[in-house]
């Protein structure tokens, strides 16, 4: 197994914080597209050339955010892009005849927006911030967004928000070492914290930076400043009638693989999850079929040393039949990788 570098993309003039593959691309002959965002206050749209297989920057979204753009997310239809910035706003971009226009700006957070995420149906957008709160916005006709609920429960900076891949259940992770699970119980607009995964539940002992779900949505992986990756599972992903909620529980902890902060983790549909860390390396983990009882259920598939010249901030697998891995780094570059067996 080898992680082969397909391309190294330059363009951003500051660290690249995050990227997001457009979910509506990569099949039916539609070239793969992703967006990346950076400390240079811009968002770049990259499109694959089908004949060369290489990516080129198709658009630069600038002069909207006045500070670092920390997070970007395509809506499930791939038509709308949301970007969250340290300028406390979230911008909504629409592709109008090849040009990206900022069609709406969501204001409400007191300070830096750290992450944005769409729910599976594209009707709700979640944002989180250093102001310790998580906001849920409803998408209304005419590019209008209205705040449905403000979730307060984290004691510190909220690093990431992530919707469950099929259910309207929201997950958030924070500098307070906790992962919180939020659901709309009963009455509409009544979002409550239904579970907190923290130290008492075998949780993380330092900042939780990222979360990702497996394809079926019954497992979740989290990564942390405590140098571990943890896998969580649930019996039933659906919200029970009557508001019952199947809790998540700790399945295993992967210790000893990382010696610096793990910033990013992402699970592929094929069951391989990748981690991006402060040691400039990318690691891939898979199911361990031969694991002992009570032993770790996952094993290291490979470690790509010096994947970047500096810290790896973000990793994400592409959609499409043959997933590629994209990574974003403090070195200002994005790399696209292919897993060759």
């Amino acid at each position: 197994m080898e992680l082969k570098e397909i391309q190294r993309l330059e363009g951003h003039t500051d660290r690249v914080w995050s990227l997001d593959w457009n979910p509506a691309t990569g099949h039916d002959g539609i070239p793969l597209v992703f967006a990346s965002c950076s400390g240079d206050k811009t968002v770049r749209i990259w499109e694959q050339n089908l004949s060369s297989g290489l990516w080129a920057c198709k658009a630069v979204l600038e002069e909207t955010h006045t500070r670092t753009v920390r997070s970007c997310a395509w809506s499930p239809s791939g038509k709308i892009l949301a970007t969250g910035s340290f300028d406390a706003t979230t911008a909504i971009w629409e592709n109008v005849g090849g040009d990206f226009e900022c069609v709406s700006t969501l204001e409400g957070h007191e300070n830096e927006v750290k992450s944005v995420c769409w729910n599976a149906s594209g009707t709700l957008l979640a944002t989180c911030s250093r102001d310790k709160s998580v906001w849920i916005w409803e998408v209304l006709p005419g590019n209008e967004f209205e705040c449905v609920s403000v979730l307060q429960g984290h004691a510190q900076d909220v690093k990431m928000v992530k919707w469950h891949p099929t259910e309207d259940i929201l997950f958030s992770c924070s500098y307070d070492n906790n992962i919180k699970v939020w659901a709309d119980e009963g009455d509409s607009d009544d979002w409550q914290c239904v579970q907190t995964l923290g130290e008492p539940n075998n949780g993380h002992t330092s900042t939780v930076w990222a979360l990702s779900f497996n394809a079926s949505g019954d497992k979740m992986v989290s990564c942390s400043d405590d140098l571990t990756v943890k896998v969580w599972g649930t019996e039933n992903t659906e919200i029970q009638s009557g508001g019952g909620f199947a809790p998540w529980r700790h399945l295993c902890t992967l210790t000893g693989y990382h010696d610096r902060t793990i910033f990013s983790v992402h699970w592929s549909r094929e069951g391989i999850f990748a981690s991006g860390a402060a040691d400039d390396a990318i690691r891939l983990f898979v199911d361990d079929n031969e694991s002992q009882v009570d032993g770790p259920l996952y094993k290291l598939l490979l470690k790509k040393e010096k994947a970047h010249d500096m810290e790896v901030n973000f990793v994400q697998w592409s959609p499409g039949e043959k997933p590629l891995l994209a990574s974003a780094s403090d070195d200002g570059t994005i790399k696209v990788w292919e897993l060759i067996s």
Binding site: E107, G108, E146, V150
Partner: protein
């Protein structure tokens, strides 16, 4: 029989008690005045903040009377909830445990209405969670 040196042996105790009594009565006066000043300041701030929200809610309600569709149903609901909270606030009972909870809820709902109405209103005395913390952000 009384010890000849009794009074001088108790000198320290006597002075200690005198000093304590003097300090206690002076402390009562100073403490009362200080408490008065703090109460005046905090009471003023809370009254000002509640008054600010009351003013906003009254204007929004006036606008809604002229045109019931001028704000979204969700914003209307929250404005109504703010009104209830303001009326419920135990102004004359500062030690009521609900005081902080009601104020936090009011601040949150105010932010939600402002966001929904696309207005940037800010109560100037509003305490920021952390002002000018560090410039380095991750």
């Amino acid at each position: 029989m009384d010890d000849l040196f009794d009074s001088s042996l108790n000198l320290e105790d006597t002075h200690y008690k005198e000093g304590y009594d003097e300090g206690h009565s002076d402390g009562l006066v100073a403490g009362k005045e200080e408490g008065r000043q703090v109460g005046l300041k905090v009471g003023f701030e809370i009254g000002e903040e509640l008054g600010f929200y009351r003013g906003c809610v009254d204007i929004w309600n006036s606008a809604l009377r002229l045109d019931p569709t001028c704000f979204s149903p969700r914003a209307k609901t929250i404005i109504g909830q703010m009104e209830e909270l303001i009326e419920k606030y135990p102004l004359m009972d500062p030690e009521n445990v609900q005081v902080q909870e009601i104020m936090d809820s009011l601040r949150l709902k105010f932010k939600m209405v402002c966001s929904s109405l696309h207005v940037k209103l800010e109560y100037s005395g509003y305490p920021k969670s952390s002002t000018e913390a560090n410039d380095i952000q991750f």
